[in-house]
């Protein structure tokens, strides 16, 4: 059977599974699904399919596995590093129809959602039905999916308090490349999705793999108290070498929810200054002030030395810094117009902050690109996601190329520095593999061979040259 007739047959079978309105092999859909807003070149899929249930996903995987058709799971398509492009053609599995919020357990503070549920949907649902609870939302557009962000080890507004979003995962339902549906975590043996412990933790088989091991169809994530009173402090210094210790001291108080840093040349008053935003909440005003005082006391030495201090912001001016998600990055994303935006998010120890900052400035300067640098602290200063964001005009090929060079250069330097590019593009994955313990990479390949014997899951990712 020729490739064309095989695809026609696959389309017909997919129509039988999900219905005609949810399958397309038309050029316009293939074009739209060929790219994300980042710099990676487009790659067209052969077919786009939008399943509505886990059962439909199961049938799709059986079909794809039988005929060795590549399958690329897709959330909102906002990963920016091209991970959901069909590098070797095949099927894009758009999960957005599977967006039901299945359960919220108020007492044990978790939510079970389908994989296409967006950050905004869950945020709005909790606000309406469970106003005392919130989830850790990333600073992404609200259409970004919960599952997508968890599966790439994302981070968000509760990451100082609770770690990576993958750390906040209680359990998964996944469809394996061979079509079996597996539950992982407490939900495998209990009606409750309360934890991944005490069972063998298989969730890691689907976290950080760039969709090369299976399709997540449901997941449970931890929820947290939604405080009545919230505040933010912005600690400012000009000395990058102080930042690791400042963060170490502030995180040591363990009273904040989120800590981020930001460095940008615009507006003028921000250039050359390093800002640490510390977000914290409380049930009462007294508790809020107590927390503020603890945070302040932790860095009083630097305040007394006059080398750093909190920006004096009246209450109304704090509002943009209390927004979840923050809109500032979205604004920066369009600074060049044309809708192009990508960043290298590098996971690294906080010790590397001064070096990471210096590198960002040097790259932006040498390539004359607009930059926005910053970081989000993960856990109690356990590590950080340091980001190098470059905005570009998608309609200007030279601008795209400049940003791409900046990203490649940043990835290379980050790896050399001892950091690891986060949600790495396919070329950056190869950089990581070059540095990786070969036995770990061998283990990855052996695991994949077991889970995905025909290599149909998002091929082209986590592969050597």
């Amino acid at each position: 059977m020729s490739g064309v007739s095989l695809m026609k047959e696959i389309v017909e079978k997919l129509v039988k599974i999900v219905g005609a309105e949810f399958v397309s092999d038309q050029p316009e859909e293939r074009y739209i699904y060929s790219m994300d807003p980042g710099t990676m070149p487009p790659r067209e899929p052969d077919i786009v399919v939008i399943p509505g249930t886990s059962e439909e996903v199961r049938q799709i995987m059986i079909l794809a596995n039988r005929d060795e058709i590549p399958v690329v799971p897709l959330g909102a398509g906002l990963v920016l590093s091209g991970l959901s492009r069909a590098l070797k053609g095949g099927i894009i599995l758009d999960m957005k129809r599977m967006n039901r919020i299945l359960e919220v357990n108020e007492t044990s503070r978790y939510a079970v959602v389908e994989a296409g549920t967006s950050q905004g949907m869950l945020q709005a649902y909790l606000k309406k039905h469970h106003p005392n609870l919130k989830h850790s939302a990333p600073d992404a557009p609200p259409v970004a999916t919960i599952a997508g962000n968890v599966s790439i080890h994302g981070s968000g507004h509760l990451s100082h308090a609770a770690g990576f979003h993958s750390d906040m995962l209680n359990g998964l339902e996944v469809v394996l490349p061979t079509g079996e549906v597996a539950r992982i975590g407490s939900c495998a043996t209990s009606p409750y999705w309360f934890s991944r412990a005490p069972l063998p933790d298989l969730a890691g088989l689907f976290l950080g793999w760039a969709g090369t091991t299976g399709v997540i169809t449901k997941l449970a994530i931890k929820l947290y108290p939604n405080y009545k009173y919230n505040d933010v402090g912005i600690f400012v210094t000009e000395e990058a070498q102080l930042i690791p210790d400042i963060l170490h001291r502030m995180t040591g108080t363990q009273v904040a929810e989120d800590m981020t840093t930001w460095m940008t040349p615009k507006p003028d008053w921000a250039r050359g200054f390093l800002h640490c935003d510390i977000n914290f909440g409380a049930n009462t005003k007294d508790e809020l002030i107590w927390k503020r005082n603890l945070i302040r006391a932790s860095v009083q030495e630097y305040i007394d030395q006059k080398v750093a201090g909190f920006m004096p912001l009246p209450p109304a001016m704090k509002q943009p810094f209390l927004e979840v998600p923050a809109r500032t990055l979205s604004r920066f994303a369009d600074v060049r117009r044309g809708g192009g935006f990508e960043y290298v998010g590098a996971i690294m120890p906080v010790d590397l902050f001064p070096e990471a900052y210096k590198v960002g400035l040097e790259i932006a300067d040498s390539l004359n690109v607009n930059y926005s640098l910053g970081s989000r602290i993960i856990g109690v200063n356990h590590c950080m996601m340091f980001f190098y964001a470059y905005a570009f005009n998608r309609a200007d090929p030279a601008d795209v190329e400049r940003a791409q060079k900046a990203l490649e250069e940043t990835n290379r330097i980050v790896v050399d520095m001892g950091g690891i590019p986060w949600k790495a593009e396919a070329p950056a994955q190869k950089e990581i593999i070059r540095k990786m313990d070969p036995n770990m990479f061998d283990l990855m390949n052996r695991i994949r061979a077991v889970l995905d014997p025909k290599g149909i899951m998002n091929p082209g990712n986590w592969e050597e040259d």
Binding site: V236, T237, E238, D268, W269, F273, I289, R292, N293, R296, I303, K306, V307, A308, G309, F310, M311, P312, P314, P315, A316, M317
Partner: protein, 341 residues
């Protein structure tokens, strides 16, 4: 250039040392006040230089108009004593710098100076401001705020340029020689601070309250009494021009307002607290705000009236939480004409 007009002998001969003895934030008896004052005069280290909260009040307390506060700020800067951390001070200086975007424009009287607060230009409306022009922006910012940051040098550098901008871009060629200052900051700067530093001001400044009082007189038959009990939040910059204080009562009387009797009013007014936060003294700010708001509430105020935008933005939320309505003086006067419309 722009030397502070200050007479050392007056201070040396001063028997009362009101500037320090009356301070609400530092505790001095006459003896210790004289010692500290002498230290300041002689350019020696002083607790005052380290602990001054920069409330401006000693400018009002001094019976000799000898500018004790400006001297404190002068000494702080000479000695490199920064009330706020260096990066905060530096960042504020950049944030508030003139953008150099001013262009000449014709204005007609009355010309209202809105300083650096474009978000308040909506206040210029209705009968009270009929036919008025307003000017606003970074290039006409009065720059008095640097007194809080031990930066008289920035005032010396920027203020003459701001005054010239107002004169040469707006007033001179429009044939206008009067400027109504919407804020105490600008009025205090042009009429008192500029004189103290020997900076020429080629136009006449009129305090907003004087302007409003006269307008209210002219519109007397259209006023509907507001019938409210208000607490007045006196701004630090009014300490430079206490002679304008009587206009507050004058306005209240004209629009049917009762100014509640309370502890922290008039000469005993408390700072809004925002400057203390810039100085990283949150606990002092909390305490001062709490006492101030308790006082307003206990006095039975249902409005808190502001003239300073910084005080307004700092305290508006907190007074609202106490069930007190925050309002600018200008908008309070508007109520006398907008009521029921």
């Amino acid at each position: 250039m722009y030397e502070l007009n200050y007479d050392l002998q007056i201070c040396e001969q001063c028997e009362t040392c009101d500037c320090l003895v009356n301070c609400q934030y530092l505790d001095f008896d006459l003896k210790s006040a004289k010692i500290e004052k002498q230290n300041i005069l002689m350019g020696r280290d002083s607790k005052v230089l380290d602990e001054c909260v920069t409330c401006y009040a000693c400018e009002e307390y001094c019976p000799n108009d000898n500018h004790p506060f400006y001297l404190i700020v002068e000494r702080q800067e000479e000695k490199g004593i920064l009330p706020a951390p260096a990066p905060i001070t530096k960042q504020q200086i950049i944030m508030m710098q003139p953008r150099g975007t001013i262009t000449p424009a014709q204005v007609r009287p009355p010309v209202i100076n809105m300083c650096y607060f474009p978000m308040l230009t909506g206040c210029i409306r209705g009968k009270l401001y009929e036919g008025a022009s307003y000017i606003v922006g970074s290039d006409i910012f009065c720059n008095v705020m640097w007194l809080h940051f031990a930066k008289n040098s920035i005032i010396r550098e920027r203020l003459p340029r701001m005054i010239d901008n107002i004169w040469s871009h707006y007033l001179r060629d429009s044939g206008v020689n009067e400027l109504v200052c919407f804020h105490d900051e600008c009025f205090g700067t042009f009429t008192q601070l500029a004189t103290a530093f020997g900076i020429d001001v080629p136009f006449k400044s009129i305090h907003l309250f004087e302007y409003l009082s006269k307008k209210l007189d002219a519109l007397q038959d259209q006023i509907q009494p507001v019938n409210a009990k208000v607490a007045y939040q006196r701004p630090c910059s009014n300490r430079l021009v206490p002679e304008t204080q009587h206009w507050v009562d004058n306005i209240f009387q004209r629009i049917g307002i009762e100014r509640v009797e309370r502890e922290y009013d008039r000469e005993n007014a408390l700072c809004c607290g925002q400057v203390f936060r810039a100085h990283q003294r949150d606990e002092l700010a909390d305490d001062v705000q709490r006492r101030n708001l308790d006082d307003m509430q206990q006095a039975g105020a249902n409005y808190c009236v502001f003239n300073c935008p910084a005080c307004f933005f700092t305290l508006a939320e907190a007074v609202s939480e106490r069930g007190i309505f925050p309002i600018l003086m200008s908008d309070l006067c508007q109520l006398a004409f907008e009521k029921g419309t």
